[in-house]
């Protein structure tokens, strides 16, 4: 037994986190995504300069967990609200945290135009293939054949259309500076996700335009799977439809890395 030896702290709550319990379900990857964002804000020393925009969905209470100024947007309108803030306070860092129903369904116009304008904001986009907060309805990201509470026989693409690949779509816009997709299903991918989040915030700080990291996430509760099965389902079912890749990386960013 070792006593009175100096201990090295290797893991702690990020400074940018408030000391409260989150309301997320066990096994949900929102907690990981939150932590990564908080770590990046810590590492970049941005907490006093950052304004968050929460959205509507499971992440509606994001403002309770990040220890910075926050506003709470209407459903889908976070990019518009972030635009209003950023245009007035241009030297602040403004980020939105939105789910797939919020961003890719009701807020599709707002996100597309924020990207097209090259709005200098960072968007964290949680894609978990369903509407979590309202109890697991079909989202624009729901996979073909996937059963949800509003597609009980599985998503029939003839009737309900196809999933939207948001990152690919936004990457076509000239205003996008950094648009990538990452996943939160295993440690390697989590590390890649953190690196991408860091680059996204750097894109904003350097004024290189719109930045978004789409994060493939699990929703064990509404998928009807245990947390481990959910991670596997993400890897096996979601990644073939939503590949992990960089879709737009401003040349200035790659030059910066060299």
């Amino acid at each position: 037994m070792v006593v009175n030896q100096p201990v090295e702290i290797v893991y702690h709550r990020p400074e940018s986190f408030t000391e409260v319990h989150t309301h997320y379900c066990p096994g949900c990857t929102h907690g990981i995504a939150h932590r990564l964002v908080a770590e990046v804000i810590d590492e970049m020393g941005l907490i006093e300069n950052t304004i968050g925009v929460a959205s509507v969905g499971c992440s509606v209470f994001a403002y309770n967990y990040f220890d910075c100024d926050f506003v709470e947007a209407a459903h889908g309108r976070a990019p518009a609200m972030a635009t209003g803030i950023k245009r007035v306070l241009q030297d602040r860092v403004v980020f939105t945290y939105q789910g797939d129903g919020d961003l890719a369904s009701i807020g599709m116009a707002e996100i597309v135009h924020a990207a097209a304008r090259g709005e200098n904001i960072t968007v964290i986009f949680i894609n978990n293939a369903n509407y979590g907060m309202t109890g697991g309805q079909m989202a624009p990201t729901t996979l073909p054949g996937q059963k949800t509470t509003s597609s009980p026989s599985g998503r029939d693409v003839e009737q309900m259309g196809f999933p939207i690949r948001t990152a690919e779509l936004l990457a076509t816009l000239d205003g996008s500076g950094y648009v990538v997709r990452r996943s939160l299903h295993d440690p390697k991918n989590i590390r890649m996700a953190k690196k991408a989040l860091r680059t996204a915030f750097e894109t904003q700080v350097r004024g290189l335009g719109f930045s978004m990291v789409e994060l493939l996430s699990t929703c064990p509760t509404n998928w009807g799977l245990n947390p481990h099965e959910a991670l596997k389902w993400l890897e096996e079912k979601m990644i073939p439809v939503f590949p992990i890749a960089d879709f737009k990386v401003s040349p200035a960013l790659t030059q910066g890395i060299e």
Binding site: A73, T83, G84, R87
Partner: protein, 369 residues
């Protein structure tokens, strides 16, 4: 400042700029587009924020975000566009941030047309977005009043952390007449202590309209209501014309009030003892003043460019004490003074029969013609 020949929409936009507007977000729609165009040129010249949004929905949410920073901010639109803004207005009301909206009303419902109308009265004054709140509503009747009320709108919005809507119409927005603009006000001011600016050397702040606990929401509702009571006590505005010895009173706001004033003057020249009360604050509404007026006059004529939306407020104020009649034009039709004069003459010389609702009586008369 000298009087200049100014277009209503341009004068309103320039007045906002001189009141210290820091950011404008809007979307083109006739008959308000000159506001957007004026801001698009002037705001960047002055180093201030102008942005043409992708929709009215986005515009009002950009306004919402900018207002949360404590900036002086506004948008403008016309009826169909204002309908799209109702979502954002409700959130703005629930978050208690000051915002100014100019609604240059046009004919409706639906796509309607681009002519001057007062068809948004019920939506703006009594309706709006979901939930429990009241906006302050100011109705100009001239280009000069558009300037003055726009400036007042910013002061009231900030004083009460409230939405202030300048409810004008396509006629006032498009007309040109001499008016005087105020000198440029300084844009420099202290950010309010609730503003979201980044938590530097202070505790973090959250601005939101969410109160998941109903008891907490109710506390917010009470706070809004208390503030509203204060507004009702302090901010009622109206104008009276020839009412001192009047036996008949006309009540109309905005363009309908202005047209009615011409009719009242002609009637006066004919020896009819008639006057006009023109509400300027439609919310808070001058209920008390109209009640007092009802005690003094023989009958009241309400004139509007809609189907009698303010009429219901007048009836409530009068409380059945005095006969009330109505004359309206709808769909974007502006009444001629002669039409109102004919109504005044009828009230002056014919015995007044009040059978049922004045709106029904008006429809009956109107259809016979």
């Amino acid at each position: 400042m000298p009087r200049e020949l100014l277009k209503g929409n341009v004068a309103t936009a320039e007045a906002a700029i001189r009141a210290g507007l820091e950011a404008y977000f809007g979307y083109p729609i006739t008959p308000q587009t000159e506001l957007l165009e004026w801001f698009s040129e002037r705001m960047p010249q002055l180093g201030r924020t102008f942005l043409q949004a992708e929709s009215e929905l986005a515009a009002i949410n950009m306004v919402y975000g900018a207002a949360c920073t404590g900036a002086r901010v506004m948008t403008s639109s016309s009826s169909p566009g204002v309908s799209l803004m109702m979502e954002g207005l409700s959130y703005i009301a629930g978050t208690e941030v000051p915002v100014v909206l100019v609604d240059v009303m046009r004919g409706g419902p639906g796509l309607g047309n681009i002519a001057a109308s007062q068809g948004d009265y019920a939506q703006i004054v009594h309706g709006g977005g979901h939930g429990d709140y009241f906006p302050i509503v100011l109705a100009p009747a001239s280009v000069q009043e558009s300037i003055d009320l726009t400036i007042l709108a910013f002061d009231l919005a900030e004083k009460y952390r409230s939405i202030v809507i300048v409810l004008t119409d396509g006629s006032i927005g498009q007309m040109m007449e001499p008016a005087e603009l105020p000198p440029m006000r300084s844009i420099e001011r202290k950010r309010p202590d609730w503003a979201i600016t980044g938590a530097r050397n202070r505790d973090r702040r959250i601005l939101s309209s969410i109160y998941l606990n109903p008891e907490e929401e109710e506390i917010t509702n009470y706070r809004l209501l208390q503030r509203w009571n204060e507004i009702e006590s302090n901010e009622i505005r109206f104008k009276e014309y020839y009412l001192d010895d009047a036996e008949l009173a006309v009540i109309g706001f905005g363009t309908a009030g202005r047209v009615s004033l011409s009719a009242v003057r002609t009637a006066r020249a004919e020896g009819i003892k008639v006057g006009l009360l023109r509400p300027i604050s439609l919310r808070p509404f001058p209920y008390k003043q109209i009640k007092a007026l009802a005690d003094r006059v023989r009958s009241i004529l309400v004139v509007e460019m809609n189907s009698g939306q303010m009429l219901d407020d007048v009836l409530q104020a009068v409380g059945g004490k005095t006969p009330v009649d109505f004359y309206g034009r709808m769909g974007g039709v502006v009444p001629f003074p002669d039409e109102v004069l004919a109504e005044i003459q009828r009230l002056a010389f014919e015995p007044i029969h009040i059978n049922g609702h004045p709106r029904r009586a008006w429809m009956k008369r109107h259809m016979i013609r």
